[in-house]
């Protein structure tokens, strides 16, 4: 593959005329083109600054998810948008949002246009998962039970449990700082540099077990750091473009492990456990991209990237259970894990005539996992084996993948209104250490596009048939999978899809849209596993300027996803339905001095699950969101904005609702409950445009 791409490079290098900034015409006399009426020089800086207060009426983690508006009370609202353009070509753009919230962002870009560009930004993202969790544990990477803890075979016997529970909120927060620079040596040649540092701190829930029957869900710490640095050089000529880039990224975990005490008295002699946190890893990638316009209507484009992912963190001990006096030894002290990736795409696009276009593409994605294989003798969940039983062992399985795909496509424009496209793809997917060594799939598709007067129409049909080699159990996996199981990513499958999109604009003030799609996956040879999966969706949308000052937008979308899967002697059905209705009204009054808007969003989902003919209660999420807002133009440059958002959210989830920390005898949970809230959010702010 690499050789083949290199064959093309001499062809690419044959033409190196730098890209023209614009269509040039040597005969144009521009001596009188003074641009003396061009605005811009007299107003160098523009800024739009908004500040105010918001008030949230109730506490809710779910409402505050991704926004930081999770607690009842007042919040500072601060946003700014500014830009400057100067005579010598220097400029800056500033964008600042949510400065008073935990979801704040500020970014500045500047430089001298056509010479250099610099940017720096800071972005904060709160992810709030639950504020209803409770635990008897304290600590971070080492979690202890309270002094005097009474263990028992089941949660019912843990007599100190209820008195020792404390609230623990589950959340993480990302903080990302990015800097970048681009230098334009000539109109064609430029260089890019970038660096990004991100931290993600907080906690998350994790189920951690002992033996095969007991487990506890803990709030475990999250303390990640990552760094990404990249450099690149780009050359953009008239007929060809090329770029070479190198990226290195490093992930660091400040928690090597989580260690916790067993709240159960079982299994015997198992007082404590330790689990590994995600190990540190490092990735490097070198990418070459290029495109060459062979003629005005034939374009060759290619991407080739080679990456290396490494992980070699020191192993934790096989067990920390001191009752296991002579634990087995490790075959090595760290994994020396290494995956080489090769990604290549080659695309040839040819305009044969004004009406006919052909396209061919070859894709290859490969993950070559060269991690050494060894036999690991292990201790299951820090639990001593039964007397006389040997320690189990397993060889690690460094999975490798290679996907090769060839695509051919024909586009034929019947006339300005109608266009037909069709294509055929063929894919071979190779895997190692899995049940199917190779699958192959061919796909056929057709697309009809029409733009007739005020109607836009798209119809698309897809058919795909995937077949695999013999399905064989993986010898190293014990106990083995059922021989009838067909994993759905490797199973034989026939896929049919159909899609219809219709856009109608009968008036300049009215746009109507309708989209519908159907997808049906049939896993025809799977007697155990996923057998059928269907998805259907439709949406209707409307944008209408009812009267000149009153505009309306509306959307209704429905998605149904159902599937059937089977065990050896049972079957299960999933039927999910998701509805979204969105309505927006904007009314401009008093010659645009006063704008009043109203938004309403209704999002509902319901999931029905039947296992062996027994139906579960319906899983539901339902959100009503009403927003009314207005802005009044006090003067040419100043505005007062007021807004009120009311949101009602309710969720029904039988997997956790009503489940207390000790409801399940063998699992000590966090007792998280589904969120539900009614919240009002008032805002008032003042905006000034400098």
């Amino acid at each position: 593959m690499r050789t083949s791409v290199l064959i093309c490079l001499p062809v690419v290098l044959a033409s190196n005329t730098p890209v023209s900034a614009q269509p040039q015409n040597e005969d144009v006399d521009t001596s009188q083109w003074q641009c003396k009426w061009c605005p811009g020089d007299e107003r160098k800086v523009e800024a739009d600054v908004e500040g105010g207060l918001g008030y949230v009426t109730n506490d809710s983690y779910k409402f505050g998810d991704y926004t930081g508006l999770n607690e009842k009370g007042a919040y500072i609202l601060a946003d700014a948008d500014a830009s400057g353009r100067y005579e010598n070509g220097t400029y800056f753009d500033l964008d600042a949002r949510n400065l008073g919230l935990d979801s704040r962002f500020i970014g500045i870009e500047g430089g001298k246009q056509g010479r250099a560009q610099f940017d720096i930004s800071y972005d904060q993202l709160p992810k709030l998962n639950s504020d209803t969790a409770r635990t008897p544990y304290t600590g971070d990477s080492v979690q202890r039970l309270p002094t005097g803890w009474v263990d028992a075979p089941t949660t019912g016997g843990m007599t100190m449990l209820s008195s020792s529970l404390r609230d623990v909120n589950l959340s993480t927060e990302r903080r990302r700082t990015s800097v970048g620079a681009s230098f334009f040596q000539t109109e064609a040649l430029s260089y890019d540099l970038s660096y990004q540092h991100e931290t993600k701190k907080g906690n998350r829930s994790a189920g951690l077990g002992f033996g095969f029957s007991q487990s506890a869900t803990l709030a475990i710490p999250v303390d990640y750091e990552s760094d990404v640095a990249s450099v690149g050089v780009n050359y953009n000529a008239k007929r060809w473009q090329a770029s070479v880039s190198y990226q290195m990224s490093m992930f660091k975990n400040n928690n090597e492990s989580i260690r916790w005490e067993n709240p159960f008295s079982a299994p015997a002699n198992t007082p404590e456990g330790q689990a590994a946190s995600e190990p540190e890893n490092k990735m490097q990638m070198l990418a070459v991209k290029g495109a060459y316009r062979i003629t005005d209507s034939v374009l060759l484009a290619a991407v080739l990237s080679y990456g290396e992912l490494r992980q070699d963190q020191q192993y934790l001990p096989i067990t920390i259970n001191n009752n296991i006096t002579s634990p087995p030894s490790l075959p090595r002290t760290s994994l020396d894990g290494k995956i080489n990736t090769l990604d290549a795409n080659l695309n040839l696009h040819a305009g044969i005539s004004e009406k006919l276009n052909l396209q061919f593409q070859y894709n290859q994605h490969e993950q070559d996992n060269t991690t050494p294989r060894d036999t690991y003798i292990y201790v299951t969940a820090d639990t001593p084996p039964d007397p006389g039983d040997p320690y189990p062992s397993r060889k690690n399985l460094p999975y490798s993948f290679r996907q090769q795909e060839l695509q051919g496509e024909v586009q034929y424009r019947l006339n300005q209104q109608h266009k037909l496209s069709g294509g055929a793809d063929y894919e071979i997917y190779d895997r190692t250490h899995q049940e199917v060594e190779s699958t192959n799939e061919y796909r056929l598709w057709g697309l009809y596009l029409a733009q007739i007067s005020k109607v836009g129409l798209q119809v698309r049909l897809d058919y795909a048939d995937r077949k695999g080699d013999a399905y064989e159990l993986v010898d190293d996996i014990t106990p083995p999978q059922n021989t009838l199981m067909r994993k759905y990513n490797m199973a034989d499958r026939v896929r049919n899809k159909a899609g219809l999109s219709l856009q109608y604009s009968p008036l300049p003030i009215l746009d109507l849209g309708f989209n519908a799609s159907l997808s049906k996956d049939d896993y025809k040879n799977s007697s155990v596993g996923l057998q059928e999966s269907n998805e259907s969706s439709l949406s209707l949308d409307l944008r209408y300027t009812i009267l000149e000052p009153l505009t309306l937008r509306a959307l209704y979308a429905l998605t149904n996803i159902d599937s059937t899967q089977a065990g050896v002697d049972w079957q299960a059905e999933n039927d999910d339905r998701m509805d979204v209705f969105d309505l927006g009204l904007l009314y401009k009054l008093m010659a645009d001095k006063l704008n009043i808007g109203f938004d309403y969003t209704y999002a509902k989902s319901s999931g029905k699950i039947t296992v062996a003919s027994a139906g579960f209660p319906e899983l539901t999420t339902e959100r009503h969101s009403f927003k009314i807002y207005g802005d009044y133009n006090l003067s040419k440059r100043s505005y007062v904005n007021v807004g009120y958002l009311f949101e009602n959210y309710d969720e029904e989830n039988w997997a956790i609702d009503g489940l207390t920390v000790d409801s399940m005898g063998s699992v000590l949970t966090l007792g998280e409950q589904s969120p539900s809230y009614n919240i009002g959010y008032f805002t008032v702010s003042y905006r000034y445009i400098f």
């Binding site: 107003r43 492990s257 034939v298």
Partner: protein
């Protein structure tokens, strides 16, 4: 790595190159070059245009001077060269007063309601913008669906909405209503909160990867923010390494965290070993620990892989 069968490539690249040569020969005869007589340019460039197109005009255009396109100090910008006519073409005829009763001569204009062909409109933008982000425009879905650059971009606006975090999704949702609905679901990436843009995962100007992803593959795109999941782990979970989308709905789901369906059924689509993985867990199960709370993840919490020497069962 070693494979049971060393397959040949579906077709060799060399064949593609030869095919390309043949296509060039074909199209040379088939496509006649357009020979248009070039109309003349205005006498004073932008100053001619601004005689009419000032801020009080029906179609005010002057905000372009507060954008990068309007910066005359950048030799790459249209205003540094042929000014308005760099994009709109020679406007000499258009600037002339028409005879009484005659229509003003048309100028090259952009949008769906103009006579300018799609290829010509996009070609003008690509004259300057065919760079490392747009070099494969023709290979992308948006090009194949006859999209115009100006369907999404407002060139004259001081702040092009599609380039702003708050407004970008509105532009994308004009066509992608299903994706808009997906981002309203209960478990989502933070797009509807304005904390994530479509372009963080998709290069809408055309890539050679699936669904216009910014990474070479879906996983490489996901790993840009979720590096902790890329391993390599001692005990890897094969589908994780293959495709995040086997278990997750990347835009949004009703099943937290963006899962295609609930455990244990999600897991039981692949796991059928004797004992608990193969049993049905209905509402009347006597073994709720396999169903309630975190279900399979009550014990097997390391579903993305474990680096613990005893983490074979993804419990450590």
């Amino acid at each position: 790595m070693t494979y049971k069968k060393q397959k040949q490539n579906p077709t060799s690249i060399k064949s593609l190159v030869i095919l390309g040569g043949l296509l060039m020969l074909l199209q040379t005869g088939a496509r006649a070059e357009e020979s248009e007589t070039q109309p003349h340019y205005t006498p004073r460039g932008a100053d001619t245009c601004l005689q009419c197109h000032d801020e009080d005009y029906d179609y005010p255009v002057t905000s372009i001077f507060f954008t990068k396109h309007g910066n005359r100090n950048d030799p790459r910008s249209p205003m540094a060269g042929l000014q308005c006519e760099a994009c709109h073409g020679p406007g000499g005829k258009h600037a002339e007063e028409p005879y009484v009763g005659a229509k003003r001569a048309a100028i090259l204009n952009f949008g769906r309601d103009t006579q300018t062909s799609l290829d010509k409109q996009n070609g003008i933008c690509l004259t300057c913008h065919r760079d490392n982000q747009r070099m494969a425009w023709e290979a992308g879905a948006h090009s194949k669906q006859d999209m115009l650059c100006v369907d999404c971009h407002s060139i004259h606006a001081r702040n092009d909405p599609v380039l702003t975090a708050e407004k970008q999704t509105d532009t994308c949702y004009t066509c992608h209503q299903q994706q808009q609905a997906q981002f309203e679901r209960a478990s989502v990436h933070p797009v509807r909160y304005g904390k994530m843009r479509c372009t963080q995962c998709h290069n809408v100007h055309g890539t050679l990867s699936d669904t216009l992803l910014v990474g070479n593959t879906k996983n490489q795109t996901c790993y840009r923010c979720h590096m902790e999941k890329r391993g390599p782990f001692l005990w890897a979970h094969a589908p994780v390494q293959e495709d995040c989308g086997l278990c997750h709905e990347h835009h949004g789901s009703m099943h937290t965290p963006l899962l295609k369906k609930r455990s244990p059924l999600l897991c039981q689509q692949c796991h059928s070993q004797a004992a608990h993985p193969s049993n049905p867990y209905g509402p009347d199960t006597t073994q709720p620990r396999f169903l309630l709370g975190k279900s399979c993840l009550n014990c097997h919490s390391q579903v993305h892989g474990s680096n613990h020497p005893s983490g074979v069962k993804l419990m450590r």
